[in-house]
Structure formats: structure tokens, C-alpha cells
Amino acid sequence: MADWSIILNTIKRTSLLVFLCFFSTKAICQEDILERKIKLEQKKISVRRLLTQVLPQAGVSLSYNDQLIPFNKKLTFYQSRQKLEVILSKICENADLSYTTSNNQILFKFYDRPDSDFSFTISGRVRDRHSGELLSGSSIVASGASVGVTSNGYGYFSLALPKGKHKIMVSYLGYKPMIQELDLKRDMKFDYHLKPQTFELNDVVVEGKQEIDVPVESIMAGVNKLNMELIGDIPYFMGEVDVFQGSLLLPGILNVGEGTSGVNVRGGASDQNLILLDEAVIYNSNHLFGLVSVFNPDAVKDVEIYKGSYPSKYGGRLSSVMHVRHRDGNNKELHFSGGIGLITSRLLLEGPIKKIKSSFLISARSTFWDFFIRNAENPTIRDSRANFQDLNAKFNYNINNKNKIYFSGYIGADENKFGLDVLRKWGNRLFSIRWNRIHSDRLFYNMTFYLSRYRYRVIEENEIENSVGTSKILDYALKGDFTYFFKPNNLIEYGLSLVYHRLSPGNRIQTISGINNEIKLDNEQALEADIYIANERNLFHNLKISYGIRGSLFSNRGPGSVFQYEKGAPKSLETIIDTLNFASGESIRNFYNLQPRFSLNYQMNNNSSIKFNYLNAVQYMHLLSNTLSPTSSDIWQLSGTYIPPSVSNQVSIGYYKSIKKQKVEASAEFFYKTNTDIIDYKNGADLQFNNAIEKELLTGNSRAYGLEVFVKKDIGNLSGWISYTLSKSEKQVKGQFSGESINNGDFFPSDFDRTHDFSIAAIYKATKRWTFSSNFVYYTGRPYSFPDSKYSVDGLVVPHYPNRNRQRLAPYHRLDLSARLEGKKFNKKGKERKSESYWVFSIYNVYSRRNTQAYFFRQNEDDPNRTETIRYSVLGVAVPSVTYNFRF
């Protein structure tokens, strides 16, 4: 008995053991086989090849019913060794198929996959129907599934959707929206060709006509898109259509007055705007002292402005991103267009090189008054110069469906000389190559290489004083931007950029009586390397978030020398105690920064949403400009031993509403932002040809906050918008030593502080040929400093200014009107003309308002013992203008 029980027990134990053994080996075997890595020779392999060759050769035994297997399906693998499990699930993906394993064998079987489990991708590009121009930022929305995506900077999109019927709506501002119904059963590719919205009098529905877009679906607050064709209709000073002047009608964007350069976004200095032309940074965006920007409106496709938060792919500036994209050129037919205006005249030629595959665009612009100046009888006038030219050339080539290459170039040249003064020349040069690749249905990338140079020269042609002074900045940049459409409503963007900055702050060659006298400040160089990754996804169907991080390294590198100053004393030539020399390539100072960004969009219902943004940005390059607005001679400065990078933190929250029926779009946004370590200047700072520039500089902080309201409405043939900003922008400069603080180190209003800023614009299409438009602006006068006493030095009366920016100029307001007359579309015989033309008549400052630009506190011309206050206005009268434009 005892024996039996022992045996029984033994059997029980062993069977348990055997069972356990069996179970575990089975588990191990199963794990083994699915975990096995299979070597793949190609990236793209058909299911047939996998099942008949690759897997059997790798020793995997398979069992399947031929009728179930999608043999012709092609699979893409990004790694050459893949786990079997991954391969199998890819085979079963989007098919009524699943697999099991038993005894090291893979068994495929039928599986009735629910429709919602199938996911297919539609991808492609959005274009203009007539010109073939790519439309970036168009929205592609599947209404049923309530998911959507916007096309990227190159018009490309990819949208993953469940199997079944969908209504796809493709829309873009200024174009007729397109609706497509489709039954999605496989991955599909579409190129959507949208028809431009035209103004037809009888066409009562002027749907989707938008001069400036208030985005309801975009995740970020404070994003605006300007479309040149449409903002071209508002009145401009001397009829010169300009993207920057146009942007001033948006909330939160301003400049410091008429005849000044640069724009200020949400209380930031004008060097805090990242101004890009087709991905390349442009260092000076002004011609003619800011009257005209460097962007030729004929060539501009669109302008994207981010002022609240910007995607992680952008970095290097604190306040905003203004990305100007030029048109690619019509890829269907050749066109020639141009215009004659009071400031510039323009020509543009565009057309296909090889139809659909390749196109080009060349545009040029020039002032023409030099012709009169050079022929003047008066030598002082004859020797004077005030002109500019610019040239854009662009060429693109579709290598195939998936690869596209762009070449673009820009050359700008300004020249200026008054009487006996020196001749000054400056300009940007830009060259870029871009390569777009649709790597797969879901992965798109763009590689950019560019060169950007800004050079400023002072030329003294007078025989005895013959000299040439030069300063310049040159960037070599390489960047890659990747967009991965990971899942429906889940997008990953990542990329990197490498920029080598080379700065020549000053170099002057002089020949006096045969002696060569050269002064050369040391070149400065730095490497700026950035990487970023961001994810945008839906958390719930009505809550979308985007989070990302940008890591940047800025390395100020030798050769170079750095002065060492006595501690505890202000920096000056007297307090230099040593000089550190750095060899070529040696790093002088490195900065590392992580810049987190976050956005949230809560869609309350179909037509309203709330957005929240947080932005952190770092700026390593500073424009040294101790004047109210930048001048062309200002030099850029790299962060280094004594000049820290500036850092900005901004939060904004906005409410957006769009009522399609009433054609109203409205938004209200609140923002708060702080900037630290911004550059300021000591009194009387000498910024030119200074090899110890740090002794002229101070650092400070700034903060800005405000509310921006924007409402746009169309009523029949009348459309218009209102923009209002209530804001405060303050600055603080607290120096370490006496005389280095401004206003005792307290916060004070910055030059860009504008309490109220209101503008209203309206465009009315009166008849088939006449369009009228007008805009009115009103804003609080700029902060100004008033003297509280006076004294005399050597006979000169000097006003004493105890504080900076404690008073203000009078409020500014102005009304402009313009009218556009289209040329006749048909000739006398009733045939349609081949060419189009139109005239634009405009009046700037209609009611001749004398807006105060400055007060001069000075001695009376006739009686030097008396002092007086003079109000200075840039414009005292209405300025009429006319331009003529044509296209054929």
C-alpha cells in the first residue's frame, strides 16, 4: 500500500513536473519563434515573397489557406532585422486575417475584423487648380470621423482613417472648398486641385473668402496667415503693397511709427522676430528704412505669423516667427506680370520648364527715381542715392512622385548717399536648396541647405579720404524636418538643424596719400545646433494637445580673444586686466538650453474652441541697435562670455468662435510673457568698430501682457475685420554700477508699449470692375521722455531728462482709402482678352492728420535764448498714389 502511495505520489509529482515541463517548454518555444529575428534583404517586400521565400528559408513553418492571404500586399520595413511577430502582424494588418502558433508552426486563419479596426491612409498634396502652386496650411477634414489634418509647408498631407465611407472636405483660405465622398478600402493618394475664389457679383455666396485667417482648428493660439492676393486689396502708403505693413493691421503687431523699420510683436524688440524666407533666416528685412520690406509681394505666396507660441521646429528668436513663402511658379503655363508704382516697379516671369514636372519663377523689383537723380543738374542731387533693387529666382523639379527639389535665390541691394555724406550700401543674399521627400504614406521630410548673408558697407569716395568700411554676417545652415503621420490624429514632428554663424563686426580699409591703413575687428564665429521632437495628438475627440521640446547648443568658438575685467568695477578700457586668447575651433563659451513647448486645444462645439499655449524660447543672436528702430548699419552680436542668451517664457489663452452661417470669425486672446537678459545700452554707447563691445552693453528684463480681439465678418460683397489690442509692455534695466540703471532700475514702459491699438479694415466689391477699400487705425501714443529742466553747456541749451518713457505722445489715428479698377476683360469685339490689368488709386492719411512722431525740445532758431517745443510729424498731408499692374 505504502509502495502504491509512493508510486502514485511520484507519478503525481512527475506528471506535474512533466506537465510543468511541457508547459514551460511550450511557452519557451512559442516565445522563441515569435521573438526570432528574421533577416530581410529589402525594405519593401510583398507578402507573397515573405510567405513563399523569406520565412520558409529562415526555417519558419507556415500553414495557410491561399484564398485568405493578400499576397500582393507590399510591406515596408525600416530595419533589416525584424522580429517575426512584427512581420506577422503587418501581414494581418488591415485584412480579415489573424494567426496562431502551435508546435513552432504559424497558422493563419480567417478573422472577421471589424471595420473600425481597419486603418487606411489617404495622402497627397493640395494645389491651386490654375497654376499648380502648392498650398500649405490647407485643411483636410473627414467630417464623419471628425478628424483632420493641415497640409504642411510643402502642401503635403497624410490622414489615417478607418475603413468605410467618408466625406473629405479640403479647404484653403481664398479658395473654394472641395468635398469628396469616398469609400475607403485601401491606402489612397489624391492631389486636390482647388479653384481660387473669385469675386463674382452675382455669386452671392462669397464663402470662405478670408483675408486673414482665424484658425478654429489649428492647435496654436496667436497664429495668423496672410494671403498676399487678398491683403493686397487694402490701402498702402504710396500704393506699395507690403507684407509687414499689412501685418500691422493684426492684433499684437506694431511698429514705432511712420518711417521706422522693423515690427514689434507683443512687446518684443524687432530683432526678436524670426524672419524666414523659404526656410532661410533673413537678417535685415527692410529696404528704404522700413518703408518697404524685402519681400516682393508679387512673388509671395503666403506669410505665416506665429506670435503666441510656435512649433518646436522653429527656434532662435523670442517673440515671433514670420515665415514668408514664395510661390513656386506656374507649372502649367508661362505668365509675365508686373507693375509700375511710385516707389518701385516690378516684373515677374513664371512658367513651366517641363510641364507639371518643373517650373520657375523670376521676379525683380527696383526703384526708378535714380534715373532722375543721376540726370539732375545740381551736383549735390546728382551724387545722391536712395534706391534699392531686389531679385528672386526660384526653380523646382519633381524628380518623381516622391522627390522634389527646390533651388531659390534672393539678392537685395540698397544704396544711399546724401550730398557730401558717404555712400552706404547694404543688402541680403540668400541661396537655398531644399529636397522634399515623401518617404512613405506617413513619413514626409524636407532637407534644407542655405546660405544667408547680410553685408553693410560705407564707402568714402572722396579722393583723399578714400575708404571702405564693411560689416557682415554669414550663415551656413543645414536642417532636416521630419513629419510622421503616426496614427489618426497623432502626428510626430522631429528634426535637427546645424548653423554656422560667421560675423565680421567691422573691417575698414583706407588709403590716405598712398598709405594703406586697415582696421579689422576679429571675426566671431559660433555653431548653433538644435534638435527637436514634438507630438500632436487628440486625447479625446474634442481635446487636442501638442507638446514638444527643442534642445539647443550654442557654441561661441575661436579664434578670438576675450578681455578680462577687474571684478567689482564697471567694464571699461581702464579695467581690462588680461586678455584670453582662443585658438581656432576652441570653444570660448557654450550654452545649452532645453525649450519646452505645450499647446492645448479644447473644441467646445463645432464652432468654438479654447486654446492654451506655453512657449519657452531662447535667442543667441542680438541686434545691437541703440535707436528707436533698427538702422541698416546695426550689427548682430553673438552670445558669448559677457553676453548671455535671452530667454522668453510666454503663456497665452484664447477663445475662438466661428459662425459659418453669419460668416463671422472672432477670437480673443490673453497673453503674458517675460523676457530675461535682453540687451540694453549704456548712455552714449559706441557700437561701431568697437573691439570691446561688452563695455557698452547692459542686460535687462522685459514683460508684456495684454488682450487681443479680432473679429472678421462678410456681408454680401462687403468684408472686413476689426482688431483691438489692450496691452502693456515694460522693461527693466538694473545695472550693477551707478549710472548703469534706467529709471532707478524700476520697470518702465518700453518703446513698444501701446495701451490701446484699434484698427478696422473693409473691402467692398462694388461692381465687376471696381473694388473699394479703406482702413482706419487708432492707437495710444508712444511712450516719450519729457525734460524737467534745462541748462547750457558752452552756449548749447541742453534739456535734462530725469527719466525715460514716463510721458507719451498724442494718440495716433489715420484713415486710408483705395480703389481698384480692373481692366476690361473683353475687347470691343467681345472676345476675352489674353492679358489682365488693373489700376490701384489710393490716398494715405485721407484727412491730413498731423500725427506726432516726436517732440523736439530745442532753442528757438531766431532767438537762441528762448527754448521751444516743436511737434514733428512725418506726414502732414494726405498722400495720393497710383499703381498700374498687368499680367499676361
Binding site: T260, N378, I519, D788, Y791, Y801, R871, V874
Partner: protein, 281 residues
């Protein structure tokens, strides 16, 4: 000096306007002003001491009377300045004090209320030689060339810069016995780009007519004085925007016992040479 664009000028000629306005300006506390200059000329030097007044106040500055004013040199020799009547103007005695090149001077002031002030040490720098002073002209862009008044004359001269030192200069120009002294007529230059060479300076910011009698004073400045005048010039230039932001222009005089007191004005020292010229048509 800032770039002046013709365009803006052309536009401003046609459209811009300046008109006098009355602003209600704040009036700050009175501040002490010290304004005086020493040279190498054989004449009394004057130091003016007074208080600031409100900008809109058109009366004269309240003088600081009965102060004790003197200058000391490197060896602490003391040279007294005596008040001329009750004017707040204090003058030196040329028999006692004539500025010497290379010497350094400090101004000392004790006001009647006992508060004491002192300037920084101001070095009287040697002066580079000025030669070839002549006249030149350009045409007024606003007048036809035939107009006899279209020719705008100015003076020019060649400076032989003293090598290996930083030199700073000011020209003062008197035309027909009137010192041309508007803010835009300040003429300051340095040898930043021209150290040790002969260079030509054209005073074309001061224009005159044919047959005018001109006295050109060529003066050396210290770096501090040069920077001081540069700040004055930048702040007083009522030219077109963009402008430098206004700020307190600190001079080189301070209260010995209260470093926070703002004292305005400048005590300077210059070597001077003169050239006389009659503008030949």
C-alpha cells in the same frame, strides 16, 4: 550721425511738418550746473556756476554767487577763479594761469552754503598740427545751380595726427564774429580710423557765403570730454527718427560728500590752435 535718406527728406520736404506746441512739462528740482573750459590761450578762463530751471521757463539761470572756485594742477598748485560781479561767472587771472600741454587740472568749488564739489582730473592733451585750411563748396540741392546763392561754402583742413595715442578733436567755427553753435553745428572727430596719418576734415555741417571771415579753432579733447559732447550731440540732434533714447548726461563734476547728487555740465581742458580765412568765391 544717422543715415539720412533722401527719400524721407524728399517726402518730408513735401509733407512733413514741424510746428511749435505748448506742452505742460514737469519741473524738476534745481540742479547744480558747472560749465567751464581751460585752454592754452593767453586769456582769462571762465567757469559758470548756476542752477537749472524748468524747460519752459524763459528767464535766465539763477547764478551761484560767492562760491570759492579754484583749479589745482598735478603738483597741487592752486589757481583761484574770482567771480565777476554777481554773475555766477568765475574768471582766472592770465598772469597766474595759462594752460600747459600735458598738465592735468582739477576744479574745486565750495558753494556759499558750504557744499563742496570737485571735477575729475582733466588732462590738457597736446594738439595735432592743422594745415592746409581752405574753403570748398557744394550746391544747395534746393536751388538751381545758376543761383548765386546755390554755392554753399564750408572750410576744410588737414590734420596730422599724433601717432600711437588716441586723439579727440573739436572744431569751433566763428563766421563774421559769430560763433556757429547750433547743435547740428557741433563738429567732433577722433582718430579711430586715422591714427598717425594725415587726414582731411570737412566742416560741411557749417555753411557760409563768399567773402565771409572765418576763424577756425582746432581743439584737443580728452576721451571723456569727447564722449560727453557726443552724448550731447546725439541727444540734441532734432534730426529724423530713429533717435537714441534720451538720458541724463553725466558730466565730470561731483559732490564730494554726496555721490548721489546729480551735477550737470563739464569742466574741460583743450589745446587750441587757430586758423583765419576769408572765403574766396
Amino acid at each position: 550721425m544717422f543715415i539720412i535718406s533722401i527719400l524721407i527728406i524728399v517726402i518730408s520736404c513735401i509733407t512733413s511738418c514741424e510746428d511749435p506746441v505748448i506742452l505742460n512739462l514737469p519741473t524738476g528740482d534745481e540742479k547744480l550746473v558747472v560749465d567751464g573750459w581751460m585752454t592754452t590761450e593767453n586769456k582769462p578762463y571762465s567757469i559758470e556756476i548756476y542752477k537749472t530751471i524748468g524747460f519752459n521757463n524763459q528767464s535766465s539761470y539763477p547764478p551761484e554767487n560767492n562760491a570759492e572756485v579754484y583749479v589745482t594742477d598735478r603738483l597741487s598748485f592752486r589757481y583761484d577763479f574770482d567771480e565777476v560781479g554777481q554773475t555766477g561767472v568765475y574768471e582766472s587771472d592770465p598772469l597766474e594761469l595759462i594752460g600747459k600741454q600735458g598738465e592735468a587740472y582739477i576744479l574745486h568749488i565750495t558753494l556759499s552754503d558750504g557744499s563742496m564739489y570737485e571735477s575729475k582730473r582733466e588732462v590738457l592733451h597736446p594738439l595735432s598740427e592743422l594745415s592746409n585750411v581752405s574753403s570748398n563748396f557744394f550746391f544747395d540741392p534746393g536751388l538751381p545751380v545758376e543761383d548765386p546763392e546755390a554755392k554753399q561754402y564750408f572750410v576744410q583742413g588737414l590734420v596730422r595726427d599724433i601717432p600711437n595715442v588716441k586723439n579727440f578733436y573739436r572744431w569751433k567755427i566763428t563766421v563774421n564774429d559769430i560763433l556757429r553753435n547750433k547743435p547740428e553745428e557741433l563738429l567732433l572727430f577722433d582718430d579711430k580710423f586715422t591714427d598717425g596719418v594725415n587726414f582731411n576734415i570737412r566742416a560741411n555741417n557749417i555753411t557760409m557765403e563768399a567773402n565771409d571771415r572765418v576763424i577756425l579753432e582746432h581743439r584737443s579733447l580728452t576721451e571723456d570730454a569727447y564722449n560727453y559732447f557726443q552724448q550731447l550731440s546725439a541727444q540734441l540732434s532734432t534730426g529724423l527718427v530713429p533717435n537714441t533714447p534720451p538720458a541724463i548726461i553725466f558730466g565730470n563734476v561731483r559732490n564730494i560728500n554726496d555721490s548721489t547728487e546729480i551735477v550737470l555740465g563739464y569742466f574741460g581742458a583743450s589745446s587750441v590752435s587757430q586758423a583765419n580765412l576769408i572765403i574766396n568765391p
